[in-house]
């Protein structure tokens, strides 16, 4: 019998070399630089200044808007300044708090205390999660408390814990499930309590039998909870594809999982929720997979947020001759142009490759492979051709591509993976999206200018 799965998708080589490497906790680095841009949405605002003393778990950044999150000091020590650093997700410059650890690693007041949570209201649970600065740790970094707060008219009936980890190379979620299954199960229970959902599903790809076993044991006896073994296929862990596989429901276009009563949390997020609610520990550390052919000793490392990447590379015995540095997996990870980067809440993997993957792209030969493999049932060939025509000056390409589902693309890259012409499909889709944003912005500015112009004229006449 075939495993549960979705239509489309690809089977890249998994290269999970570190699947059996136990998580190794690294000592706190000599210097931590905690980025403020750690979540989807607005970056946090630093609340400390040079010279301030901080303790582990103390707030150093507060949310700036609704879709934003708290940032906490990853260890105790002194703030040496607010620096501008490159953000690994966007390549732009953002603030970061540099901390010189004092070596004591002392927790702030009120943190790291065992807490009873079973009687707490959903409201209190969500508040605890928000105050712990938890964001989606699979890489999307969407603030978790926002996810846990669905609109009142859209109740959530099922919480999915996403242990698919379909990206090649990455094994941090896999190891977490093997080593901390109980924490993940606790996180699931808390999510159920915080949302009022009746059903919990832990979803794991079939290529992680030890994780399946551990998780099955951990959720044994939990009412309404079950484990789903999924086909090993990329992008099985993408939120929409995961929900479709487990529940047979499609997130409507432009909508959110809450529209169909579902909520998906990464296993790392679930463990972080358990840490925050039952142990009073804000999110100050995470597991990072360091791998790639340039890593002499690839592994899974538990490090503090703000740990310099160089330290991880050292630890994994990365030789100096690598050409490519990647944050995340090879399918959706972002290439980096500098080594002055620091671990963030969403840093699931750091991959280093001796030879950079550079592909010559050619014209589309209409083989249709992208259409067959697209998990969103789009026509990536057409979108990429429209993207090229836009670059050649066809401004109508934006509207044409919108009609073809430009905004429904999940940017998973399955189309580009199978493309024999090695076309830059995702790049072109992103270009079209960026141009659409710019066009909307121009439109807004134009309308505002017109309104202002009208006002002036009315005043002139009136005056």
């Amino acid at each position: 019998m075939g495993r549960a799965t979705f239509r489309g998708g690809i089977h890249p080589p998994t290269n999970k070399w570190t699947a059996d490497a136990a998580i190794e906790t690294l000592p706190v680095a000599d210097r931590l630089v905690v980025p403020m841009a750690q979540n989807l949405g607005a970056p946090s605002r630093p609340t400390v200044a040079k010279g301030d003393k901080v303790k582990r778990g103390g707030v150093i950044g507060r949310p700036d808007g609704l879709i934003s999150a708290y940032v906490h000091a990853p260890t105790s020590g002194a703030v040496t300044g607010i620096e501008r650093i490159v953000d690994a997700s966007t390549g732009r410059m953002f603030d970061a708090v540099a901390i010189e650890p004092d070596g004591e690693d002392a927790w702030a007041d009120g943190c790291n205390q065992r807490r009873e949570w079973t009687g707490l209201s959903a409201e209190t649970l969500r508040k605890t999660v928000a105050e712990a600065g938890i964001v989606g740790m699979g890489g999307a970094t969407f603030p978790t408390h926002v996810k846990l707060t669905p609109p009142a008219d859209k109740p959530i009936d099922t919480v999915l814990v996403n242990g698919a980890e379909c990206e090649p190379y990455l094994t941090c979620d896999h190891r977490l499930m093997v080593e901390q299954a109980a924490d993940i199960a606790m996180g699931l229970r808390i999510c159920l309590a915080a949302t009022g959902a009746q059903r919990g599903i832990v979803a794991v790809e079939a290529n992680k039998p030890d994780a399946i076993q551990a998780m099955r044991k951990a959720i044994e006896g939990l009412e309404g909870c079950s484990l789903e073994v999924l086909e090993t296929k990329y992008p099985q862990g993408a939120e929409k594809q995961l929900i479709l596989t487990c529940l047979g429901r499609e997130v409507p276009t432009g909508g959110l999982p809450s529209d169909i009563g579902a909520l998906a949390q990464n296993v790392g997020t679930a463990a972080a929720i358990a840490d925050a609610v039952t142990k009073g520990r804000p999110l100050t550390e995470r597991v990072v997979t360091v791998s790639g052919d340039a890593a002499g000793r690839p592994g899974n490392f538990r490090v503090r947020i703000g740990t310099p990447i160089r330290r991880l590379l050292d630890r994994a015995e990365v030789k100096d001759d690598f050409e490519e540095l990647l944050f995340g997996g090879p399918m959706m990870g972002k290439d980096q142009f500098t080594l002055d980067l620091y671990v963030k809440k969403g840093t699931s993997g750091v991959l280093v490759f001796r030879r950079a993957a550079v592909y010559e792209h050619g014209p589309c030969i209409r083989c249709g492979a992208c259409v067959r493999h697209c998990p969103s049932y789009l026509n990536p060939s057409r979108l990429s051709i429209l993207g090229e025509s836009f670059l050649d000056g066809n401004l109508a390409a934006i509207d044409d591509s919108l009609a073809l589902g430009l905004m429904d693309c999940i940017l998973c890259g399955a189309c580009a993976y199978v493309c024999p012409a090695r076309r830059q499909i995702i790049h072109l889709v992103e270009t079209l999206r960026a141009e659409r944003r710019k066009a909307l912005q121009r439109q807004r500015e134009k309308e505002q200018a017109q309104v202002a112009q009208l006002k002036r004229e009315v005043e002139k006449v009136g005056g």
Partner: protein
């Protein structure tokens, strides 16, 4: 830039290569696909010398060389990168030569390949942009330009001991060759469809005038260079289908439609023996059930249908993108083919049916666009 620890010994001015995700690509490439198609065509190409002598190799060589030179020159003139190494011009060259009879004069393959690349492919923007299958456009061009070369009255084939013998050119059959003196099998079938024949006559044609089905299957029949050996063409195509570079949808729906059409479409059959009193339209299934299967098999194996269904109609560039679209496309090709064969003006139907369906490919693509994820059903 912030002061950075240099603990890993990496210099901060090192160059890191940055590209857009995905950073992982499959091993397939355009060149790999095209050269695989060439490889799949090689057995049939090699066998053409066995059946038709060295002129077959001459034609293939001339067509391929012309295709390569034309592509390179035009890409040079357009100031585009020259991509003759990707094998697509070679595929076109081989396919063009496959559509020509071995006794055509030497410049016929040259003209056909030139038209295929220059007009049908590069004029539309090169690889991936052409609307019609270049090889078929090349064939259609020489078909109207050099009708005597393309429709010889006799199709000579060589006996086994003349492996690389010369079949000569049109009208100059040299001594010592084993010639099929009648018209091509397709023209014979055409006569069945076009005239008011009695069942006995149909039986005689199938039994005596047409080559045996086995000979048609292995390719020991008169015809164009590459369209004779269904066996070798199918072997190559199966390799491509297993590799996933040719989709089964088009050949299966194409061949099925032709076979079903041959069985159920009515023929003008004269019933009642000598007296030509009662003339009626009958499907061959009711007119001569015992002959039906053989009659359909002749339709499948004759007239370049195998080459067309397996290699021409499945050309990625000019066929639809979606699986459903491919089924529709194959059906359309099949329906047009059998209609032209039974009721149309001349016996060769495959080329023009595929070209006509190429024309509607964008429309088929539009019709068969899948529902996007999350959109209402």
């Amino acid at each position: 830039m912030a002061a950075s620890q240099n603990s890993s010994g990496t210099s901060s001015d090192r160059t890191l290569v940055v590209g857009h995700w995905p950073h992982l690509r499959s091993r397939d490439s355009t060149a790999k696909i095209m050269w695989s198609v060439v490889a799949a065509l090689l057995p049939a190409a090699a066998a053409s010398g066995y059946f038709f002598g060295w002129r077959a190799y001459l034609h293939i060589g001339l067509a391929v060389a012309t295709a390569l030179v034309t592509e390179a020159v035009i890409q040079g003139l357009r100031k585009k990168p020259v991509t003759v190494g990707d094998g697509s011009a070679v595929v076109t060259g081989v396919l063009v030569a496959f559509c020509l009879p071995a006794q055509a004069r030497w410049f016929v393959p040259v003209v056909a390949a030139f038209v295929a690349i220059a007009i049908a492919k590069q004029c539309f923007g090169g690889l991936g942009c052409n609307i019609w299958n270049p090889a078929l456009i090349g064939r259609a061009f020489v078909h109207v330009s050099f009708p005597t070369d393309m429709n010889p009255s006799t199709y000579p084939i060589l006996a086994g001991n003349h492996f690389v013998g010369n079949v000569g050119t049109v009208g100059h059959l040299p001594e010592g060759i084993q010639a099929v003196t009648s018209a091509s099998p397709m023209a014979m079938l055409k006569q069945i469809a076009g005239q008011q024949w009695t069942l006995e006559h149909i039986r005689t044609v199938l039994d005596q005038d047409l080559p045996s089905l086995w000979n048609m299957f292995v390719g020991r029949i008169g015809g164009d260079i590459g369209e004779t050996s269904a066996l070798l063409l199918a072997a190559g195509a199966i390799y491509l289908i297993v590799k996933g570079w040719v989709r089964w949808q088009i050949p299966v729906s194409y061949l099925t439609t032709v076979a079903v059409g041959a069985l159920v479409l009515p023929l003008h059959v004269v019933a009642g023996g000598e007296v030509q009193a009662v003339a009626g339209w009958h499907p061959i299934l009711t007119a001569a059930p015992d002959l039906a299967a053989r009659y359909a098999a002749y339709h499948l194996l004759g007239g370049g249908l195998v080459l067309g269904a397996l290699y021409m109609a499945t050309d990625m560039v000019t066929s639809p993108l979606t699986n459903r679209g491919m089924l529709i496309f194959g059906f359309g090709c099949g329906a047009l083919t059998i209609l032209i064969r039974l009721y149309g003006g001349y016996p060769e139907a495959v080329c023009y049916s595929i070209l006509l369906m190429n024309t509607v490919t964008p429309l088929v693509d539009r019709w068969t666009q899948p529902r996007i994820f999350g959109h209402p059903r």
